[in-house]
Subunit: 240 residues, 2 copies
């Protein structure tokens, strides 16, 4: 049985402008792989209502799980929750349980739960809250869409609390062999090896270092013995 | 007049598995911003024919420029050129000018232009070649789609040769102010500022450092004087 699939939607002008590098994608990719869920697609869109709604609807129809990051804070450019409600065609309003969490948190801090902070208690109808042990303001799950914060420490905590609810398949195992020859030299035997192991994914990832080309050959699959066999043939071919 | 828009398609199992971090997206985002082209969307898909074709057709219909990275090498998992041809509904075959480039290169190296390497001369009908000063195998342009290698040094060289052909708008300018207060404290005045400067994009990017929350406020636009004015009001508001 093939593994369940996932997609990620990153909402962030700051990544598209080149100002910052995304860190959440790399983290989520690694966690999903370990959990036996195939991350098949990532989309990064700007803080644009139509773009977010279209992407959410595309991705939730095509994949078992969707994870979003970004745009659920208290500022005017945080529009993710409203867009998710629109994508699902449901209402959105401040919800009592979310407001109570925030109220208790700001009471403890001696800060005011002002109008801006109260926006973080706006939850689409029918959603389930995701716990935020770092800064309290919750994420939420609606349908197969998991809406999380963009701040990496909060995103990671939310992934940790949500991932056990994803039904994973067999974890994807991999082994890598670095070959210090150009891909053109190794492509022929590599294609034969790939044809002989149709259940494995054999990828060639070229690099250039000090003017010389090489490639990392990565063999992936769920059957460790088969990967061992393919890897030992790979060693045999390229140690000639 | 709004700036032209661009989208990027990254083709790469190795990023989706969490094995490597993408470097090309961050580079391209910065270059496009300097050139006055708005990068609106990035998609990362796996080495899957249907996924690549669908993404190319979506993105080329929605944006002025599309840049792809990855999947144009000599190995069996390099399927980008064939997918681009299928997306445009045109044929693909080894082309004389591309083969001549490769032949001359491998003759100089004393290597053989074998069947695998010859795959890199497969160019969709009607495409224009993109020069590759690093490792010779060309990229290509068809319609508004610019197909480039995934190896960062090669990708960057190809971007450098193609970018001058993009008709850019006014370069996007930006100024940033770091505020060491939680977003909930600053969201109200920030929303007022954003409403008073509808031509500027005012983004709040929260961070957490040593347990304390803060935010980088980034004001972006094409009119430097307007950004100066908004930034000086921002300083006024938050230095109280």
């Amino acid at each position: 049985m093939p593994n369940p699939t996932a997609a990620m939607l990153v909402i962030g002008d700051e990544i598209l402008s080149g100002r910052t590098r995304d860190a959440n994608m790399h983290f989520l990719a690694g966690e999903l792989t370990k959990h036996g869920v195939d991350l098949r697609e990532v989309r990064i869109v700007s803080d644009d209502r139509d773009a977010i709604i279209a992407a959410v609807n595309d991705l939730r129809a095509a994949h078992d799980y969707v994870v979003t990051s970004g745009g659920i804070g208290p500022t005017h450019d945080d529009i993710t929750a409203d867009c998710i409600a629109a994508a699902f065609g449901v209402g959105i309003d401040v919800r009592d349980d979310a407001r109570d969490l925030l109220q208790a948190h700001y009471d403890r801090q001696g800060s005011e739960l002002n109008a801006a902070r109260l926006r973080m208690a706006r939850i689409p109808e029918g959603a389930t809250l995701i716990d935020n042990p770092v800064s309290v303001a919750p994420g939420f799950i609606i349908g197969n869409v998991h809406v999380m914060a963009g701040v990496p420490s909060v995103f990671q905590a939310m992934v940790a609390s949500v991932l056990p609810t994803f039904v994973g398949g067999a974890p994807l195992l991999s082994q890598t062999l670095r070959i210090d020859r150009g891909e053109g030299d190794i492509a022929g035997p590599l294609a034969e090896l790939a044809a002989d192991y149709p259940d494995l994914s054999i990828g060639s990832y070229p690099f250039q270092k000090n003017g010389a080309f090489g490639a990392n050959i990565v063999i992936r699959g769920t059957d460790g013995a088969q990967i061992d066999a393919a890897m030992s043939r790979l060693h045999g071919i390229f140690s000639e």
